[in-house]
């Protein structure tokens, strides 16, 4: 994000680059006889020229987007320590494989005998995820983690209805990601927040009290939780829920911490979504596409979305005849391109590599914790797995907040940690290095964070005014929300 001045200059909008008569494409010569759309289409439906579309050449387009790309930070550039987002390396092999014409160039409505390879791939991925989770079956359909949460909660709802039960309450710890309550509500439940213990973990006594109320459908919980701490009472919690006919939903956002070490199936989990763009290396793409397969226990198998892939001998079919299914949660079979990448990652790492991945993630997080715990306040001091949550308590005396520390990190060439949650930590700095990093990258980050801690004490205004070296300075978010400008409009002459 540096370089000669001309390359650092702001890039106009593509619409502002427009110059009459430029084109960036050429279609094959149209050999079929021309038709006059005024004769083939009703006059009221026929559109004229679309106002404002740009006229740019292919070179213009390449330059425009190449320049834009230079204003982004990315994993390819360095550590991206967003807690719970798991920004790990995205292998190039996976990109190549997802683009094979036999995988990218197939239509979802081709007959089954024309897509046996695709169905085999889906079956292999499902069964790898069954092995990794220790659960009974997996739907690959959901398009992202939050979408998986919704699918899981709809299955739980349907299972309860099947038993003639209509409990309305879903319990969610106060440390949860914001999608959990939103997904539960869209599945038709009411949510009740459960306060965490002083250690930041699930409060079994509180759980017991809520269960005694008798209206609980499920508990949604993240393991390890958003503090990076393993929930020590998860097995007991599952038993308490099951005793009352309720279900345990696990948010798999932090699965990266224990792949190959522990099995959600053994924890008593009934449904678990897996963010393939976290644990299984599919690229985040600047905000998706993700993929959010959901693994379920035997109790929820009848309710899985349709279709699912079944194998008979060497033949694969899409099974739709599942009367208790919740139906479909999106078109077709899921974000197939992302599923291809995830299976490639699982194959590349293999059984030992997957465990080494979790070990590396946990070791790296603990190394960062060790390097920073004298300089930043630990919100909760329980043992960390894959991430560690500091806060800005030590810096607050000089008026420096977590957001200032984050912005100053940009000047040191690092992407900041997560700050928006967990809500139980005020001024949170949630750091997840992932297994992709070696010592020197972690050391550089530790050095930057220590330097900022020193600056916060000695020159707090320097930190509060950061960043200084980024393509733009701190942006006026209040103005963006108060006077929304959400699209470009042509200037009137």
């Amino acid at each position: 994000m540096s370089g000669p001045r001309r390359l650092r200059e702001r890039e106009k909008l593509i619409f502002e680059r427009s110059s009459v008569g430029r084109i960036g494409y050429q279609l094959p010569a149209l050999e079929v006889p021309a038709v006059d759309p005024a004769k083939t289409l009703p006059a009221a439906t026929l559109r004229g020229e679309i106002e404002g579309l740009p006229e740019v050449s292919e070179v213009d387009v390449v330059r425009h987007f190449t320049r834009l790309s230079r204003w982004n930070y990315s994993v390819d550039e360095g550590l991206y320590p967003l807690g719970s987002c798991t920004m790990k390396y995205n292998p190039r092999l996976n990109e190549e494989l997802a683009r094979l014409p036999g995988l990218a160039g197939i239509h979802p409505l081709q007959p089954e005998d024309q897509v046996q390879g695709a169905l085999a791939l889906l079956w292999q991925l499902e069964h790898a995820l069954v092995e990794i989770t220790g659960l009974a079956r997996v739907t690959l359909q959901p398009a992202a983690g939050a979408h998986g949460e919704l699918a899981g909660m709809l299955m739980i709802r349907r299972a309860l209805e099947d038993r003639g039960a209509r409990p309305r309450t879903v319990l969610i710890p106060d440390s949860a990601h914001g999608t959990n309550p939103a997904s539960a509500v869209f599945a038709g439940f009411d949510i009740v927040e459960v306060a965490s213990t002083a250690q930041g973990t699930l409060d079994l006594e509180a759980l017991g009290r809520h269960l005694a109320g008798g209206d609980v459908a499920a508990l949604m919980i993240t393991v390890p939780n958003t503090l990076g701490v393993f929930e020590p009472e998860i097995v007991r919690a599952a038993a308490m829920l099951h005793e009352r006919g309720a279900f345990l939903y696990m948010d798999g956002a932090n699965l990266n911490a224990f792949v190959g070490v522990a099995l959600p199936g053994r924890m008593g989990v009934d449904a678990l979504h897996i963010n393939l763009h976290k644990t299984f290396s599919t690229p985040h793409g600047g905000g998706g596409p993700g993929a959010g397969p959901v693994a379920v226990s035997e109790a929820l198998v009848p309710y899985l979305p349709v279709p699912i892939v079944e194998r008979t001998g060497e033949r694969y079919t899409l099974s739709t005849g599942r009367p208790k299914s919740i139906g479909k949660v999106r078109g077709f079979y899921g974000n197939f391109g992302m599923l291809v990448r995830a299976l490639a990652y699982i194959r590349s790492l293999g059984r030992d590599g997957l465990r080494a991945m979790a070990e590396g993630a946990v070791l790296n997080a603990n190394y960062l914790r060790k390097g920073l715990e004298q300089h930043y306040h630990l919100a909760y001091d329980g043992p960390s797995l894959h991430e560690v949550v500091f806060d800005d308590t030590l810096q607050a005396a000089s008026g420096v907040k977590n957001i200032d520390i984050a912005k100053r990190l940009l000047d040191y060439g690092f992407h900041p940690p997560t700050m928006s949650f967990p809500l139980i930590v005020h001024g949170a700095l949630m750091i997840e290095p992932t297994e992709s990093e070696g010592v020197e990258e972690l050391d550089a980050f530790i050095a930057a964070m220590r330097e900022i801690a020193r600056e916060a004490k000695e020159t707090p205004d320097l930190v509060k005014g950061a960043p200084y070296s980024t393509p733009v300075r701190r942006l006026d978010e209040v103005r963006a929300a108060r006077q929304p400008v959400l699209r470009w409009v042509p200037k009137r002459p």
Binding site: L27, P28, Q110, G117, K328, R330, F336, E477
Partner: protein
């Protein structure tokens, strides 16, 4: 050790610094009864071995490029400029996260702002979001928004010729919300029966959902549909599954629709066995605070220069939690970038030219089939269509199999889409179909249909 991970020296150094003898000690909080010894998965493999496995999957599929393909039904093969994928493969784009730190995400943010502008231009609507998963979930979000705007109205009126995948997903989401869905069938010309529509819309209806061009191909008469919805105080929703049609057809925005949403895959995204594709969502300024999903807005930085940020996020789950307008978090950002690049390349002239070429090619096929071909005949010969039409046939699966043996994927049979569809083949043409392919299809239909 593994090529994606750090090495032995890294591990030794870090273990010593942390003060433990082995990594196992760091997992001490994980109880013994939930642990696993070793996963029953293959050993780790080299690039070459993994590539071999995936090529084996790929060659067991019939790739569209090896055939004359007329498959559509919501997923289309249009031009695929090499520029698009070459730009998408820039790590600065595809290995970045959601642009929560705008100072180091201006590339993604500006591209999304451009995307939102393109969607507004195509739909003639005032605001568009930063993308949704796909066409099906876009329809759901439209209906849920209508229900938020009109919470006392539990009923939704949906055209029968809505894409069956979209309808199936709407049914799934509608159940827990206790939405009652009334289906209005198509008439003899394949377009929604306006009389039946008028009867179906009442004061308890929050949304009227119509796909145009509809799933069977015909272009709906949008004006009266918007008018009928408006009279009853319901929101009118236009669904577009073949987005290139917007280059030639007046969008719902001009007819007073409240939402225009659907699927943008047609603008340069691969079929990819159904995903990732690209849901889009455009509406009126009046519904801005009820809009689902992310939005990028323009602002200025501390030095007064233009910049872009995620904005109005108090609608979203990470702020509003259980009261959010949608549970969506990750959307389809990279696919939105792809469409933005394609739309930039096409520009003012190309968006129309690609639509006209697709329409012209389909009209060529329709003209040749007007008198029927064997047992195959146009289902709705009098309806205006864009680039897709239904060819009636009493045994479409057998016919498609015979055509495939001749190197032709003639279309999508309506026999596996759930009940209620007329028996036949949905045939779609785009600017990628040559005259030779069209003539080959027509000749083969003449012999085999």
């Amino acid at each position: 050790m593994h090529r994606y991970l750090a090495g032995e020296a890294d591990r030794r150094h870090m273990l010593a610094a942390v003060g433990v003898k082995s990594v196992d000690e760091l997992f001490a909080t994980v109880p013994a009864d939930v642990r696993v010894g070793q996963l029953d998965l293959p050993r780790g493999r080299s690039e070459e071995e993994v590539r071999r496995e995936f090529i084996a999957y790929a060659i067991r599929n019939s790739a569209l490029d090896c055939f004359a393909s007329f498959l559509g039904a919501g997923v289309y093969r249009h031009l695929a400029p090499s520029v698009v994928d070459s730009l998408l493969q820039r790590g600065e784009f595809f290995t970045a996260y959601t642009p929560y730190q705008p100072e180091v995400s201006q590339g993604t943010l500006q591209a999304i702002f451009e995307f939102q502008t393109f969607v507004c231009q195509l739909t003639e609507m005032e605001v568009a979001n930063a993308s949704l998963y796909d066409g099906a979930t876009a329809v759901v979000e439209a209906v849920l928004m209508a229900h938020r705007v009109l919470p006392d109205r539990p009923r939704v009126v949906v055209a029968g010729a809505l894409h069956p995948e979209y309808r199936a997903v709407l049914d799934t989401y509608g159940a827990p919300m206790r939405l009652e869905i009334t289906t209005v069938p198509w008439g003899p010309d394949g377009r929604i029966a306006h009389q039946r529509l008028a009867q179906a819309i009442g004061p308890d209806v929050c949304a009227v959902v119509v796909q145009s061009p509809n799933f069977l191909g015909p272009i709906e008469d949008l004006g009266p549909i918007a008018e009928a919805a408006r009279k009853a105080g319901a929101l009118a929703v236009q669904v577009v599954a073949e987005a290139t049609s917007l280059g030639l057809l007046v969008p719902g925005g001009r007819f007073g629709f409240d939402v225009v949403c659907g699927e943008l895959q047609a603008f340069g995204l691969p079929a990819a066995f159904g995903g990732p594709h690209l849901g889009f969502y455009a509406t009126r300024q009046a519904y801005l605070r009820q809009l689902p999903g992310r939005l990028v807005g323009e602002t200025v930085d501390a030095d007064g220069q233009r910049g872009f940020v995620l904005t109005l996020s108090t609608r979203e789950q990470h702020i509003r939690r259980g009261k959010a307008t949608s549970n969506i978090c990750t959307n389809h950002g990279l696919m939105a970038l792809a469409a933005t690049i394609v739309l930039s390349l096409l520009g003012k002239r190309g968006v129309r030219e690609i639509a006209l070429a697709s329409h012209t090619t389909a009209e060529y096929l329709k003209a040749a089939l007007r008198g029927g071909s064997g047992r195959a005949a146009l289902a709705f010969p009098d309806a205006p269509t864009y680039n897709e039409f239904l060819l009636r046939h009493d045994d479409p699966d057998a016919l498609l199999t015979r055509l495939k043996d001749e190197g032709i994927l003639a279309g999508v049979a309506t026999t596996h889409l759930g009940g209620g569809w007329p028996k036949g083949i949905l045939v779609a043409a785009t600017e990628t179909n040559t005259l030779e392919e069209c003539d080959r299809l027509l000749a083969a239909l003449g012999r085999l249909a």
